[in-house]
């Protein structure tokens, strides 16, 4: 366990190093950002390099970069005229809320469908569940989002076409309206991530259902419900817990794309705008923050895993 906790900061360090190297290796001179036109006096360029610390040796630049990161300084966005950490902080909650709700939706629905599919393997129900989850899994998430937007916000306007809230709502109305805006993106993100959990639950359940203790449970006269949910599912959940830890990058990847379509003001929209305006500090900042999130979340799932399955020790 201790090893696991030590490894996580090492991974984070590796990511920070990677970020720094990418920044250094990328073509283009940062000084050019402050120099308009093609010609600049060499003395001015030299002074600018000195001011930005670009004349220092590489390791020193890296140390400065790290010490700033530790202090929560992810750089400055000249497009927004604000600190990157501040910009990300303002959007992070929206993304985490969307991702969290979609995660729960896909997990609960995925396990349920997986159990149902495993009841009669290779039956029509099982085949159609497997096939349809494969199809949804293969569709680009931003495209599914566009379809839902067209269907349920433009042609049949049940849901708002995007944004966080409508203008001029207060009190309870505000929160109802907020949730109203959240439903469509959450549903699309949950749906497109369903397949992994359906397939894994089905495979894991089939493995458990073939074991002797299940035969014993049937022999004792347990009801189907008890056998499936109390005996088999409990053991079948173990590989699913592992998968939960591995799915977060995928959910965030989907969230970024879906936010763009629904104009949900989270990290995705920030990223989309940053790519458009070539705001590299924001792009790198988002990469750092998302990496940190993924590592911390992975560590938490590992801790949970040792709790649910005491046989495992790291």
């Amino acid at each position: 366990m201790l090893k696991r906790i030590i490894v996580s900061p090492a991974v984070l360090f590796f990511i920070v190093l990677l970020n720094f190297l990418l920044m250094k290796l990328a073509p283009g001179d940062p000084v050019r950002m402050f120099v308009s036109g093609t010609y600049a006096p060499p003395e001015y360029v030299e002074a600018m390099r000195h001011r930005l610390g670009l004349d220092k040796p590489l390791y020193e630049q890296f140390l400065i970069y790290i010490s700033r990161l530790v202090q929560g300084d992810l750089g400055f966005s000249f497009v927004h005229n604000a600190a990157v950490l501040h910009l990300i902080g303002g959007r992070l909650y929206n993304t985490l809320l969307l991702t969290g709700l979609a995660f729960i939706l896909s997990l609960v629905l995925g396990i349920l469908l997986g159990v149902i599919a495993s009841k009669k393997p290779y039956s029509a129900l099982d085949n159609s569940a497997s096939f349809s989850s494969l199809i949804v899994f293969s569709m680009p998430q931003f495209w599914v989002a566009i379809i839902f937007l067209l269907l349920f916000a433009l042609y049949v306007p049940i849901f708002p076409p995007g944004g966080l809230i409508s203008v001029g709502k207060t009190g309870v109305d505000y929160w109802v309206d907020f949730l109203w805006h959240l439903i469509l993106p959450t549903f699309v993100l949950g749906l497109t991530n369903l397949a992994t959990f359906v397939r894994l639950t089905r495979a894991s359940m089939l493995e458990q259902l073939g074991k002797d203790y299940i035969l014993t449970a049937w022999g004792k006269g347990c009801s189907e419900r008890d056998v499936l949910y109390k005996h088999a599912l409990r053991n079948a959940l173990l590989p699913i817990v592992t998968m939960i830890g591995l799915r977060l990058p995928w959910l965030l990847y989907g969230a970024v794309l879906i936010e763009t379509v629904f104009s949900w003001p989270g990290l995705g929209m920030l990223l989309y705008d940053a790519i458009f305006s070539r705001d590299y500090n924001i792009i790198m900042g988002i990469f750092t923050i998302i990496s940190a999130l993924v590592i911390v979340f992975g560590l938490i799932t590992d801790l949970v895993y040792t709790y649910v399955d005491p046989r495992i020790a790291y």
């Binding site: 590796f14 293969s138 495209w143 990847y253 794309l257 790519i275 790198m284 990496s291 993924v294 992975g298």
Partner: protein, 278 residues
């Protein structure tokens, strides 16, 4: 496993056959794209903008009056190219890293596996996105960045396989006969490991194609090429008046990815028969 035996097993699944056939059609379309498009993909007819699907423009036209079907057909090329090149590059790196580690063993193995683990737990999509934004979105960078980040699964598969056959009698026998490590790797070990690598590679092709579409959609596509993700991105401001602009490229893209995933599933069942019977 002989080819005939493999085919007998593979064709048992009708979906897998349909998937492989569809994927082959896409390969043909991408090769013969210039000969089958009704119009040049970049030709603008501003008087014909936003035409709904008709017998002339089967997929309709876009905001510049370009024929959407022709653009989608040309988009097949970039998706196919990305899918194939990224899979080739990442599989090659994976084989080299996995085989090196397992063959040499010791500290080399330890180091290579740590690098593999590190790369595996990175949020791949965001790493690709960041690198591409910094280095500039063009086809070569796209292939290089994706190829150098998507190899860990293959490396692990190869390493496990090499470790399991390294001590088998036939490998020891070739060693005793004085056969070199590289020859043993390519003629004795790899043919046994290749099945699981093929399945993993097929599924990765699908992921690479989806990644490329997503990157283009976010604005990191090669601007000089027609890509499905880019077409859908361009359609966003107009979806209220031109539903066909995002719909058709998306259907084609989904069809290709579904076909590849079905092929991968079929290969998995055909190449690992013991898994199916379990």
């Amino acid at each position: 496993m002989r080819l005939a035996e493999f085919w007998l097993r593979y064709r048992k699944s009708r979906l897998a056959v349909v998937g492989a056939a569809t994927a082959s059609i896409f390969v043909l379309i991408s090769i013969f794209a210039p000969f089958i498009t009704p119009f040049p993909p970049f030709e603008q007819h501003l008087e014909n903008k936003f035409l709904p699907p008709s017998s002339v423009n089967i997929f309709g036209t876009d905001q510049l009056g370009r024929d959407l079907l022709s653009r989608v057909i040309f988009g097949t090329r970039i998706s196919m190219m990305i899918g194939l090149l990224v899979t080739l590059l990442s599989t090659l790196i994976g084989i080299l890293v996995g085989a090196c580690g397992a063959f040499v063993g010791g500290e080399m193995d330890e180091l290579l596996m740590r690098i593999t683990d590190l790369t595996y737990c990175l949020p791949t999509f965001f790493l690709i996105l960041t690198a591409l934004a910094l280095f500039g979105p063009n086809l070569i960078n796209l292939v290089l960045v994706m190829g150098t980040t998507m190899w860990p699964v293959t490396a692990r598969l190869i390493r496990a396989e090499v470790l399991s056959v390294k001590e088998k009698d036939y490998v020891l026998a070739s060693k005793v006969c004085g056969v070199g490590s590289a020859t043993i790797l390519f003629s004795e070990v790899l043919p046994n490991a290749i099945y699981s690598v093929i399945v993993a590679s097929t599924l990765r092709t699908a992921t690479a194609i989806l990644y490329e579409a997503s990157l283009s959609f976010l604005g990191l596509g090669d601007p000089s090429l027609v890509s499905w993700g880019w077409i859908i991105r361009e359609s966003l401001p107009f979806i209220r008046i031109a539903w066909w602009m995002p719909i058709f490229p998306g259907i084609v893209l989904s069809t290709l990815v579904i076909a590849i995933n079905l092929t991968g599933d079929g290969l998995n069942d055909a190449l690992n028969p013991q898994l199916k019977e379990r």
